[in-house]
């Protein structure tokens, strides 16, 4: 008997992307279909382990008949839909979104964003030297990770990972409103006074480097962080018997960061404090 769960058979929907017919299983998002069709739609707040939040709006596409643009990450595909991923209208909004973000947030450690800014001819400087920025200093209040909210695009992914989607610790939330909204623990206290259990699952999903492991933060500050010199090896955690897969990021024979594969059936990309940070003992070498 083979019991690889097959689930309820899903219907296939037919619609078009950029004029080409595509088929996608019912329940797929427009983004799923675009990726399957090889369309390059930029995303920032979308996370492969999280429900779509569609807050960043960089993935907007044009859908025939829709008054406004549509976020590809969260909109479910419908039969007969006519999706245009690269129309002038969609490109314009993406360009402005990139300009708005880049003019207010430090995107220096956000992967791919520089390419997109170039591709969409975005000019973040156009808002002038006085354009309001987040102006946040890195919060270094514990030994394990750093919160640099000057790099925060408010994608909600850390809040969702800490909250009911995975960790259920609820140490952080969005506080305040509008441009003044920030990710914070209650009463904006240091992390050490909060509910935080240092699982680092927020760091795992952060798309901009606003949240980073202390090891990475310090090495970046020292100019020694070099991803091209790092290897990634997936192994199994050495602590309890749950058996979480760990991906060890190693530079110069030192473990510098630990992540977990997002498609792993045990972890779904999540770890606890021991799995995420409890590696130091193997490299206490003298």
């Amino acid at each position: 008997m083979t019991v690889t769960p097959l689930g309820i058979p899903r219907r296939l929907l037919e619609f078009t992307i950029d004029g080409e017919p595509v088929r996608a299983p019912e329940g797929s998002t427009v983004l799923d279909a675009c990726r399957a069709a090889g369309k390059d739609v930029p995303t920032l707040c979308e996370g492969d382990t999280l429900r779509p939040k569609n807050a960043c709006r960089v993935c907007v596409v044009e859908v025939e008949g829709s008054r406004t643009l549509v976020p590809a990450c969260s909109r479910r595909a419908e039969p007969g839909m006519e999706v245009r991923t690269d129309s002038e209208r969609a490109r314009h909004s993406r360009k402005i979104v990139l300009e708005l973000l880049a003019s207010s947030v430090d995107l220096s450690t956000t992967p791919q964003v520089a390419e997109w800014i170039k591709a969409y001819e975005a000019k973040p400087d156009r808002f002038g030297p006085d354009a309001a920025r987040l102006d946040e200093e890195p919060k270094v209040d514990n030994a394990l990770y750093v919160r640099d909210y000057d790099k925060c695009i408010l994608c909600y992914k850390c809040v969702d990972a800490c909250g009911d989607q995975w960790q259920n610790t609820f140490a952080i939330s969005v506080s305040g409103r509008g441009f003044d909204a920030r990710i914070a623990v209650e009463h904006d206290a240091p992390l050490t006074d909060s509910a935080c259990v240092y699982c680092g699952n927020c760091v795992e999903v952060c798309p901009t480097g606003a949240l980073s492991f202390r090891s990475e933060f310090d090495m970046r500050a020292a100019g020694t962080w070099d991803e091209s010199a790092q290897t990634e090896t997936t192994t199994v955690c050495a602590y309890c018997g749950v058996g979480c897969s760990l991906t060890l990021h190693v530079q110069d024979n030192e473990i510098v960061k630990v992540t977990s594969p997002h498609d792993n059936p045990v972890t779904h990309g999540n770890l606890c404090i021991k799995g995420r940070f409890g590696y130091q003992h193997v490299q206490n070498r003298d």
Binding site: A143, V197, G243, N253, G278
Partner: protein
């Protein structure tokens, strides 16, 4: 939260073999040649009085080779590991009921169940990622019940928390069973088809009325009744337990009492319905599966079964002793008697992990020869004659480990080990060669393939497939297919032939903790884990956790007031076996007469000086969960320090 100044002990890696010519001398650095020769000689001269402590932290491959070393090179079944100190009762109990010692369900199933019972398990702290699956289940609508003396973080998620007296799990379980029977909620069809001994069980639990159970457990009858009905009426239910069940002098009986409930209601052998003992070490499941236990050969094959023995004897070209070996507990007793003279201890730290640790150290000192293979100079290593520096299984070697849901997963070498440290398998093979057995293993995969050839449950798991599926659960007899995620579906077969051995109800009696509380020792001390620390702290002490505050004796606010002590104040904590000084912490999750400590900081506060070595006669696990203690204020001068 107030933190006290601590200079926690951190361990640095062993980089060279160490040895000493007599126990009075300090260790000196040695070459591998010298150290291995010395070790081989020490073992050789104690043939017939040898015991192997294998490592529940190392790979399956290492455990396979280690047990083979014991059985083939040393000709003994005296091989065991620290699973004895935690989950051996689960293995014993599940084997007795179902013929197999693994948990019956998978993590994913708990996300799709209706009722979850967490019994003696603070998984939120001890198994955080498993608890994420529980939380998924709760978010999907499952109702969770927690049975635990403390209102733990896990219990705070429960619909209902039942705060029973330590060591009254059997009365609670029997009362639940009786209530299920009396309410007409027993699954008669399942009982009839798939179990034996129901009538005896029914008679056994009959005295355990809800009101008697309330008297014995301290939990209101209504709460017990509600749990009984919820569990029995659920279309699917999961029963999970951890060391709160097993670390008792009658741990196996506790496990049987819980299994009885699943048999009574048919909550086993179906998707989403089952039993999950949560394992405490990364490879405690695999260590046993690989035969690093005294009564089973690799693949959980019984040593007493002549066919199994024959298979291994021809595969290994050896003769296997046709009787069970000594388990860890018995090996320690044999040290005392002098019938066990040499130990090869790989990656374990019994000097700090055993209950009544002082006694354990004394016994190990009586050995003629102790070789310790580890990555750190642990307290156990300090007692050795030869210390062999090994690699860290999870980051410096290739191989596999097996998790609590029987999933075999690949571990891979990511960093180069320090100094001259060598892989466990290499070292064992070097010793085997010196003792006349020239084993050739090109790599871990070669070991694994040998294991596959002798263990049908693992046969289908090639390294390639393990990679492809991100781990495979046993049993996996075929290289083409995967089995269901749950065990014992056979019990539901219509055809009696396909059903196999029916599952017997366990006829087990309540037996309160050995270490009774009285006027002199009025407080019940129980032990457990914290979120950020692990076992004796040798590994977890290596990183800086913002949550860590060191060892405390945790009391409820009422007791703190009664003894006139405040948070941070050091007090004398004494049991009938020993005494330690520990600072006080106040935790509202406790109640009067109940205190809590961990074993994470033995270098600060050696909690196991207090615990009792009252062992489960079946599984050999000690009663870490129930000691009787008293606390005393220290004289003023001592407090100031």
């Amino acid at each position: 939260m107030r933190k006290r100044d601590r200079t926690p002990k951190t361990y640095t890696r062993l980089t060279h073999p160490l040895l000493r010519d007599s126990r009075n001398e300090p260790f000196r650095q040695a070459s591998w040649e010298e150290a291995l020769d010395r070790a081989a000689r020490g073992l050789e001269r104690n043939r017939g009085a040898f015991g192997m402590f294998s490592c529940a932290r190392a790979t399956n491959e290492m455990n396979y080779v280690a047990q083979k070393f014991a059985r083939v090179v040393m000709g003994t079944n005296n091989v065991d590991s620290c699973n004895r100190t935690c989950h051996a009762p689960s293995v014993a109990g599940l084997s007795a009921a179902f013929g197999s010692g693994g948990g019956t369900s998978s993590y994913e199933e708990i996300e799709h169940t209706d009722v979850i019972v967490m019994w003696g398990s603070n998984a939120r702290f001890a198994h955080p990622i498993f608890f994420q699956h529980v939380l998924r289940g709760i978010r999907n609508g499952a109702r969770m019940y927690a049975v635990d003396p403390r209102r733990t973080s896990t219990a705070e998620w429960a619909e209902s928390w039942l705060g029973l007296n330590v060591g009254t799990d059997i009365p609670m379980a029997h009362a639940i069973g009786r209530e299920i029977i009396h309410a007409g909620l027993a699954n008669e069809a399942f009982i009839e088809r798939a179990t034996t001994g129901f009538e005896e069980y029914k008679a056994l639990v009959e005295p355990w009325t809800l009101s008697l159970a309330e008297k014995v457990t301290g939990v209101p009858a209504r709460a017990i009744r509600e749990l009984a009905h919820a569990y029995a009426r659920a279309e699917r239910a999961q029963l999970c337990w951890t060391l709160g069940i097993t670390e008792h002098h009658n741990g196996t009986d506790n496990v049987r009492a819980l299994i009885n409930l699943s048999l009574l209601t048919g909550q086993v052998g179906r998707y989403g319905a089952g039993l999950q003992p949560l394992r405490g070490q990364n490879n405690v499941q695999g260590g046993g599966d690989m035969g690093a236990i005294p009564n089973r050969l690799p693949g959980f094959q019984d040593i007493l079964d002549p066919d199994s023995r024959l298979k291994f004897e021809s595969a290994w070209d050896t003769v296997i002793q046709p009787h069970y070996g000594l388990n860890l507990t018995e090996m320690f007793e044999a040290m005392e008697e002098g019938s066990l003279r040499a130990v090869y201890c790989i990656g374990e730290n019994p000097a700090q992990s055993e209950a009544d640790s002082e006694q354990a150290v004394r016994r190990m000192k009586q050995l003629d020869f102790l070789v310790v293979q580890d990555i750190f100079l642990t307290r156990t290593a300090e007692l050795a004659d030869v210390i062999l520096p090994a690699t860290a299984g999870w980051a410096e070697t290739d191989g596999t480990t097996t998790n609590s849901e029987r999933r075999v997963q690949r571990v891979r070498r990511a960093v180069t080990p320090p100094g001259e440290a060598r892989e466990d398998i290499d070292i064992i093979c070097e010793l085997a060669a010196r003792l006349g057995h020239d084993w050739k293993y090109a790599d871990a995969e070669t070991v694994w393939n040998e294991l596959r050839s002798v263990s049908p449950d693992h046969y289908g798991m090639t390294y390639e497939r393990l990679e492809e599926h991100q781990g495979i659960q046993w049993p996996c007899p075929s290289t083409d297919e995967l089995e269901p995620t749950y065990l014992h579906g056979r019990l539901w077969e219509k055809d009696p032939a396909g059903r196999g051995m029916p599952a017997p109800f366990g006829i087990v009696q309540h037996d309160p903790p050995v270490d009774l509380t009285d006027e002199e020792y009025p407080i019940r001390l129980t032990t457990g884990r914290r979120l950020d620390s692990y076992n004796t702290g040798v590994q977890s002490g290596g990183y800086a956790s913002p949550l860590r505050r060191g060892e405390y004796i945790e009391l409820c606010p009422e007791d703190a007031e009664r003894y006139g002590v405040v948070v941070g104040e050091e007090v004398q904590v004494s049991s009938r076996r020993g005494s330690v000084v520990a600072p006080v912490w106040v935790d509202t999750a406790l109640r009067p007469g109940l205190a809590f400590m961990t074993m994470h900081f033995p270098d600060e506060v050696d909690t196991n000086q207090l615990t009792i070595e009252a062992n489960c006669p079946i599984a050999g696990t000690a009663e870490f969960k129930a000691s009787a203690i008293r606390i005393e204020k220290l004289p003023v001068a001592t407090i100031v320090r």
